[in-house]
């Protein structure tokens, strides 16, 4: 089965799947991408909002802490103004640190950075002496505040007192500074964990990117620096940083903002998988949808492809059946209009092929019949020609014999019978010539609607009173071109046959119809002749046009009736077909080419010969050249001519005739030419002679007309035709007339 060509079923499957899935996948991917972008944007926006809120809250808390230091500075300043006793300031510093929830150490530093007083946490209170008097002038925060002249917060650094990561707030105070430090442990809580705010978390970073407070609001257990993150870098540049980063091995989305007061940073973030949770659901749903879509598309594709491909397979099988000759094939109802149309087309194709095949068989039968009849025609024509010559001889010599024995001789009766038999034989030969189409008809315009009724009067006498003859004319005139005698012969032969088929009477019906064609030149007139006789068996029907085929008793029929009809129809360009079944009668359909009406009326043809009776014989001795291949006829003519006083020159063929003419061209008065001769035929000889002597009268003698001579081409002023068999007197009369008139 595999032909290397793609299968429709597979193609449909692929294309339907592609059509179903590609848009699904594209739309799914685009939707996911857009939804992801939307979720990320929302998360970053929420993060920024939260970071700003936390930053504002932190600013407020730092401000509160700064206020503590400012208040302390005011107290210290008042002490100094009021001249408070030595140690009072240190006590205040001690109380301030021990009571402060934030600061663990507060240094009072002079302008050179020397610690003048210190407040320590209770745990280190005894070590106060270690710190008083030390030099803090190289601490970065001290140098910055001294340089900028304003209070600042430091980044994370180790505390000199505790060794813990700390933050320091340093503010100018009178001629020195107050330096307040707090460990990161103490600043825990400056930021409120945001775990309950949409699963967001916050980180507090110093200006170096070191994490001061973790997501739980507490100091991280180890130093964490996030300054490598892009969002931190952006925030350190003063912009709002946002983006993805890793936090504790998890992907997060966050926004980072800077606190203008301290330079510290707040990152508000959430885990990416939490933020994009709905995206995960959507991906899951999309995958499920795609899988379901694929399954559905596969099933639908299979169903559709099967519904299309299966009928095609059926069509294929049925087409093979048509090829095998089963033209009438039932088709089931199809699921699609196109398939239904295809089924209808296949059905019509089967019927059309069947019809054409039947028509072809009929044509082939006709052709076979035609070829058979053609062959018979040639055979019959040849026989008739020879018979004609023989009859001419018999007739001629019989007539000579009658002259020679004289009137009253006992042989006269016998000779008359011989001439009578010759006449009957001549009629028979004429029929044969008609069948073989050797006889040249004289067609004339006939209007069958008017011509038929007149013929039917004569036919009624032929068929007898027991048979009813009916005629149904056509609605409009039915002009045909045919020899009047021949058409009457047709009517006669068909009527006689019908009469024989209805010995006990019946109905003989003639009807005329027009068979119109698209091309008016191809329109026809059909004459149907039907009888109610006993009909014919198929084997008889197949042979009815064969010459000499007859179903009549011996001696009752010649078997030439229908053969003659067939020949006439062929000669006039028509055709004949017959329908008959035993017991159901017979119908002959005669189809004639329809012709236009010849003016106002049917014109009867002029007499073919236009012969006028001779009024007398020429008295002069004339030389007559005779060309006849049949020796008997040649001698017969020779005798007739001599008896009439002519000088005959005899030639046995056309070539000899030309030779004799060349030798006696000037003295020859007339030429008798047989049309059909070996060598050069009569027409060719005449052509030669007329070239030499255009005025030369020539009498053509022929049993029938063939392709050798077209009567219409013979100039009437110098040529005549005499048909065989002719009478001796007839020949003499024609010769005299031609010699008398010069034509």
């Amino acid at each position: 089965m595999s032909s290397g060509l793609p299968s429709i079923r597979r193609e449909l499957l692929i294309r339907l799947l592609t059509t179903a899935l590609v848009p699904l996948l594209i739309v799914g991917a685009l939707s996911l991408a857009l939804w992801s972008h939307y979720l990320r944007s929302n998360a970053l926006e929420d993060g920024e909002h939260l970071a700003l809120n936390v930053a504002a809250e932190l600013q407020g808390r730092l401000l509160a802490a700064e206020t503590t230091v400012v208040s302390l500075s005011q107290i210290l300043e008042r002490f100094e103004k009021e001249g408070a006793p030595a140690g009072a300031s240190d006590s205040v510093l001690g109380f301030a640190t021990q009571d402060s929830p934030l600061f663990e150490t507060i240094y009072r530093v002079n302008a050179e950075g020397i610690v003048m007083g210190i407040g320590l946490p209770r745990l280190l209170a005894q070590r106060q002496e270690d710190y008083v008097g030390i030099d803090l002038s190289r601490l970065p925060i001290f140098q910055r505040v001294k340089f900028e002249g304003r209070a600042l917060w430091s980044d994370s650094h180790l505390s000199l007192t505790t060794g813990q990561p700390s933050l320091t707030y340093c503010m100018p105070f009178r001629n020195g500074f107050l330096v307040a430090s707090t460990t990161l442990n103490r600043v825990e809580g400056l930021t409120t964990p945001l775990d309950d705010v949409d699963e967001y978390k916050t980180l507090l970073l110093d200006s170096k990117g070191v994490v001061l407070l973790g997501t739980d609001g507490k100091r991280p257990s180890r130093i964490l620096k996030l300054d490598h993150l892009e969002l931190v870098k952006n925030a350190l540049r003063g912009e709002t940083g946002s983006g993805s980063f890793q936090w504790q091995d998890e992907a997060c989305l966050g926004t980072c903002v800077a606190l203008p007061q301290t330079g510290w940073l707040i990152i508000a973030f959430a885990k990416t998988d939490v933020v994009l949770r709905t995206l995960s659901w959507m991906i899951g749903l999309s995958v499920v949808g795609i899988v379901l879509g694929m399954a559905l598309a596969v099933v639908l594709s299979l169903v559709v492809s099967n519904r299309i491909a299966q009928p095609l397979a059926v069509f294929s099988a049925k087409t093979r059946e048509i090829a095998e000759g089963n033209y009438v094939i039932p088709f089931d109802a199809q699921p699609y209009s196109e398939l239904d149309q295809m089924a209808g087309a296949l059905r019509q194709m089967g019927l059309a092929i069947q019809e054409r095949e039947q028509r072809q068989q009929a044509i082939e039968a006709e052709l076979r019949q035609s070829q058979k009849m053609e062959a018979m025609g040639k055979l019959v024509g040849g026989i008739a020609h020879d018979f004609n010559n023989m009859l001419q001889g018999i007739r001629g010599f019989t007539e000579l014999a009658k002259i020679e024995v004289g009137d009253g001789h006992a042989a006269q009766d016998s000779l008359d019978e011989t001439l009578s038999a010759c006449s009957r034989a001549t009629e028979l030969v004429q029929q044969l010539l008609i069948f073989s189409r050797k006889d040249k008809p004289s067609p004339t315009h006939l209007e069958l609607n008017t011509f038929l009724p007149s013929s039917l009067k004569m036919l009624r006498r032929v068929v007898g009173e027991q048979i009813t003859i009916e005629f149904t004319p056509s609605e409009k005139p039915a002009w045909i071109l045919i020899d009047r005698v021949q058409i009457e012969q047709v009517f006669m032969n068909l009527s006689v046959n019908a009469s024989d088929a209805m010995p006990k009477g019946g109905r003989l019906h003639f009807s005329l119809v027009h068979l119109e064609a698209d091309d008016p030149a191809r329109s026809r007139v059909e004459l149907s002749v039907s009888d109610t006789g006993h009909g014919m068996r198929p084997e008889v029907l197949a042979r009815i046009f064969d010459p000499f085929f007859t179903t009549k008793d011996v001696g009752k029929g010649t078997g030439l009736g229908l053969a003659t009809v067939y020949g006439i129809m062929q000669q006039c360009g028509g055709s004949i077909r017959v329908e008959s079944e035993p017991g159901k009668g017979t119908v002959f359909h005669l189809s004639f080419p329809r012709v236009a009406a010849p003016g106002d009326a049917t014109v009867a043809p002029a007499d073919a010969t236009g012969t006028k009776p001779s009024v007398g014989a020429a008295e002069d001795v004339r030389t007559v050249l005779v060309a006849e291949d049949d020796a008997v006829l040649r001698q017969l003519i020779n005798g007739v001519l001599k008896a009439e006083g002519y000088v005959p020159l005899l030639a046995e063929n056309g070539l000899r005739a030309v030779e004799l003419f060349e030798l006696n061209a000037d003295c020859i008065s007339l030429v008798i030419l047989d049309v059909v001769m070996p060598g050069r035929n009569g027409a060719e000889v005449a052509e030669h002679l007329w070239r030499r002597r255009p005025e030369l009268p020539i009498l053509f003698i022929s049993g029938y007309f063939t392709d050798y001579l077209d009567p219409s081409l013979i100039p009437p002023e110098k040529g005549r035709i005499l048909r065989k068999p002719y009478g001796q007197q007839q020949l003499v009369a024609v010769l005299r007339e031609m010699l008398a008139t010069g034509r």
Binding site: L25, L32, D130, D135, S221, L224, A251, I283, V287
Partner: protein
């Protein structure tokens, strides 16, 4: 053919949809440092050095195409936390560890790392107790047996003849060995070594008292072995007493924070430094650009330790063969530094004597 192309397209699209955007498999190395307490200054700068190395490596394409990730753990300067930190790093998939930063925690970590077959490179570990041991512990820092003797010679060369030692017992693994080496060398040079004064930093000693005790011994110089913060506070206390004692110390005291916290008291202090800022000028500039501050020796040593590991891992990123790789390669060039391990993963490297002048380090022996 068409069907095949269609299937490939569908599978590709599905994989694209289903696949997450997670990172590829990264290569993890750990950093075990002291991020809590008075010893944390060393680890903070050291951590920066390790970060710098990892960032440079990743910028250059990582290890065999894999990104390197640095994970941290805090040993809180105590042995138990150090072991817990090491195990945590191991369990988190680290193929090697940079750290720890102080000798106190290095001893148990080295033993545990050997048991775990996990390579540990100590950037600043100088204890003599880990010298010449066939274990998984490597270091890029010279044992104090060498550095203390060199410092003794420098102090003697400065004309000091009567020295007293002051050291912290909480990091005894480093301080005792270093002190004894110094003492032996100084005695060998003919100097006098007064009985040492010891203290425990975690017991919150009075540095004023310690200063008084040292000054009262009548020495002309004092060799201190303590953390940066303690050195700063002791130096401040000596300064307050207007003492003329020559203060000398080891690298441990010499982180960047010393100058900030010791203020003007630090001027004149002599110490032996393992980093030559002049030789590592380009690296120092990089570090300053990255972290905004001047690196100390701990930062450089951690940078070197990380790159030693990265270079070995570049040959074979498998944890199991790393120790063999290191001992096979032995020699590593990191920037301007050439690190050459002996058969036990120890090194002996040049140290340079410096003196603080106006808060800045200056070579004790300027180049002619």
């Amino acid at each position: 053919m068409q069907r095949r192309v269609l299937i490939h397209l569908l599978v590709g699209l599905l994989l694209f949809l289903v696949s997450s955007c997670g990172d590829g498999p990264s290569l993890r190395i750990g950093f075990l440092g002291t991020f809590t307490g008075r010893f944390s200054d060393l680890s903070m700068s050291g951590h920066n050095g390790a970060i710098l190395a990892v960032e440079e490596c990743n910028k250059a394409g990582g290890i065999q195409g894999r990104t390197v990730e640095l994970l941290e753990e805090d040993d809180r300067a105590d042995e138990a936390s150090a072991l817990a930190g090491l195990r945590s790093l191991e369990s988190r998939g680290c193929v090697a560890v940079v750290g720890p930063m102080i000798s106190k925690t290095a001893l148990p970590v080295a033993a545990e790392a050997t048991r775990l077959n996990l390579v540990v490179v100590g950037p600043t570990i100088s204890t003599n107790q880990l010298t010449g041991i066939d274990d998984s512990f490597f270091r890029v820092y010279t044992p104090s047996e060498y550095t203390s003797r060199q410092l003794a010679r420098e102090v003697h060369a400065l004309g000091m003849r009567r020295v007293i030692g002051l050291y912290d017992l909480t990091n005894r693994a480093h301080t005792e060995g270093a002190y004894f080496a110094f003492r032996d060398e100084f005695l060998k040079l003919g100097g006098e070594v007064l009985p040492p004064i010891t203290f425990a930093a975690n017991e919150q000693p009075s540095f004023t008292s310690l200063a008084h005790r040292v000054v009262d011994q009548g020495a002309d110089s004092v060799f201190v072995l303590m953390s940066t913060m303690d050195t700063a506070l002791f130096s401040q206390c000596l300064w307050k007493l207007r003492s003329k004692l020559l203060l000398c110390c080891s690298d441990w005291s010499g982180t960047g924070d010393l100058a900030e916290f010791a203020g003007r008291s630090i001027d004149g202090l002599v110490f032996l430094h393992s980093m030559d800022p002049q030789a590592n000028r380009a690296w120092v500039a990089n570090y300053r650009k990255r972290f905004g501050k001047t690196p100390d020796f701990a930062a450089l040593r951690c940078y070197e330790a990380a790159w030693v590991l990265l270079q070995a891992l570049a040959k074979d990123p498998a944890r199991a063969t790393l120790r063999t790789q290191l001992l096979g390669l032995r020699s590593f060039q990191v920037g301007e530094s050439l690190i050459e391990f002996d058969a036990f993963g120890d090194v002996v490297r040049a140290h340079h004597p410096y003196r603080f002048v106006a808060g800045k380090m200056e070579p004790l022996h300027p180049n002619p």
